[in-house]
Symmetry: C2
Subunit: 447 residues, 2 copies
Amino acid sequence: MSQAVPAAAPAASAPLRIAIAGLGTVGAGVIRLLDTNRDLIAARAGRAIEVVAVSARDRGKDRGVDIARFAWEDDMTALARRDDVDVVVELVGGSDGPALACSRAALGGGKGLVTANKAMIAHHGLELAALAESSNVPLKFEAAVAGGIPVIKGLREGTSANALTKVYGILNGTCNYILSTMERTGADFAEVLAEAQRLGFAEADPAFDIEGVDAGHKLAILAAIGFGTRIDFAGVRINGITQVRAADIAQADALGFVIRLIGEADVEETSEGARLLQRVRPCLIAKGHPLSAVDGPTNAVVAEGNFSGRLLFQGAGAGDGPTASAVAADLIDIARDEVGAPFSIPVASLAALAPAEPGHRMERTYLRFMVKDRPGVLAEITAAMRDGAVSIESLIQQGRGVDTEGAVMVAMVTHEGPEAHVRRALALLEGSDSLLGDPLVLPILAG
Amino acid sequence: MSQAVPAAAPAASAPLRIAIAGLGTVGAGVIRLLDTNRDLIAARAGRAIEVVAVSARDRGKDRGVDIARFAWEDDMTALARRDDVDVVVELVGGSDGPALACSRAALGGGKGLVTANKAMIAHHGLELAALAESSNVPLKFEAAVAGGIPVIKGLREGTSANALTKVYGILNGTCNYILSTMERTGADFAEVLAEAQRLGFAEADPAFDIEGVDAGHKLAILAAIGFGTRIDFAGVRINGITQVRAADIAQADALGFVIRLIGEADVEETSEGARLLQRVRPCLIAKGHPLSAVDGPTNAVVAEGNFSGRLLFQGAGAGDGPTASAVAADLIDIARDEVGAPFSIPVASLAALAPAEPGHRMERTYLRFMVKDRPGVLAEITAAMRDGAVSIESLIQQGRGVDTEGAVMVAMVTHEGPEAHVRRALALLEGSDSLLGDPLVLPILAG
């Protein structure tokens, strides 16, 4: 399983020579880190790690680091063809395009690859890992999941002796910043999003984050490593946070919960074989659960092993410093020759599991309806719950003022029951002209 | 830096053959884990991990696992001489004696060594690591610190690209169980200790735990890896939890704090060179700090890196399952040939730092006096504070009833000031017949 550094690499005391593709904030951060911590990195890696060449869109841009000392390539794929490069560091982003071309060229050409590109790994990670394995070169992507938190290493190596029962966590800093700020300030989603964009905690185009796609990419990667399964991003059920209102957060708070976007994965045995459940959704989390205290752009991942018990890894989920820390840790592993199968076991041995159908799973659920303020609405909703066999634990109807359009909010928490019952009950309400918009359905995180 | 598996080891697809010295709950747990997770371990390690021989005090004892299938040695050092063993797993415990003899024999004889023995590593880790390096065999001890949490790996590899500014955490599950139970129940130390012993959360002889020695062992190991310094257990300043009263916990709670035993280490530059500060002491921790929510026998370690920012690793700090998980993760690393210098950099390169003198460090401090209930006591204490240049932020004198001997409690929190000032003020009170016993001095954890 152990993989050597590239065949062309010189003896162990010679520097590890890297090329960096992409010089945005993370690329500049990697250069700054390698400069700042040069001596300790050389001591820990057993040899120097030296940038020899870089590539980006704009050569002249001021990045706060001196790049004139490095060779320059206009075409980043050319980095992968240089004889003086052992490892290409891909920090361009995007699941396809130049990032993928450069990565394929590097691995296919016998160079190692370190990347922070979650979208590319989620979509093409198996192809790239197979290429790395056949070329006998390292492929590492610690920075692709949860920024500076060594959670890929945590799952690949830290919990390697365990059958994991579950992996879950807070995987998107933008969503966590928005939800915890809504909680703290009482402001509504759109307002907090705008503020987050102004402060740099959200992209100008925030769709990938707030719709849960980014968390889905990361979850698919964690699930593959944690459960030894082929990456299946298409199999991730994704709900974002755009439907969460300030009133939901207030209601959750009154009930003893916070709302966080959670990615969770597990494997279940069925009569038709093992099935992989992967989903990203806002959840209610009981105050006191370790994830309930995770505020701002912080990420946190919980892995539950059959011997280790519950392990929590927490830290900065993004930012140039933490991301550079993860990229450089991968480089040190490579310099130390401590690399192996990118997904813990060889790609050919990863199991191809069909997605699990979670309808039979037992959950407590928070349901929120915006309804017209007229007689009979509550009876209509509660009848649907009864007919769907959903047992209501508590229900609150708030008066006017929740919405400017004269709507009122009906929120309830169900007793534990099969998820399918909730869906069945909601199907009974579909098309009802009492309801304004789709109801919000948030599970209550167990344990 | 990379180290090969033992020279005698067969090709990569052959099993990694291990011998286990010590078959207490952890030893039996390792056997149970290797049995239960056999297939996934073989897949992840790239080859089977097989127990070939064991040794313990009593061959006939029922351990819940079948050991008849393994070769038996009465003398555990004989395990290290067997030709059919690649790695010895030392789970005997004790800093010296048979554990050390067996470990020296293994490493000196060209076998790898995996150990959960914090006391032995704290006292003899450098000698053993030097032996491992000269024999070119692995020495790994993930299980020695924080049970199942991969924090040795986290510091050695996860934060390897960072200069750490600080490492600190909750390193002793017994103390954390006692303090958080005192907090929850209001019971006093002795009562909770007795209960912890009954439940198996504390040893029959709890001195090593409650006096902070065990946490000191672990801290010394973390500091060496985190800061690249020679292990200096003798340099750890240690205060245990035996002086903490229920009334202190209640007082801390009223002020917005919990009390936890914290080990912390950092390096400071002085005009006379770098100095290593290591200490273990009960601290007040603001509610809301990630460590304040760590209850029961859980451990948690925070590492602050100059690029990664603050990282938190949390999980079960002890128990046969978590400890076995860490031992087996080390074995998988060895089977994968992903091992290197035990302390991240070679022993010869570790810096020998003198202990730091923390008197100039700025801290807020909680001070508690048990005093005679008579006029003038408060004036005496506050005068000493004034003369020591300690500025009092808040002070509470509790009436009678705190103590059966007619004592009253005076508790105060100081403004931030040099630690030496507090010591100076307390020196002024030494020998005062107003005071009943030594005052309790607890720092308030910053940030």
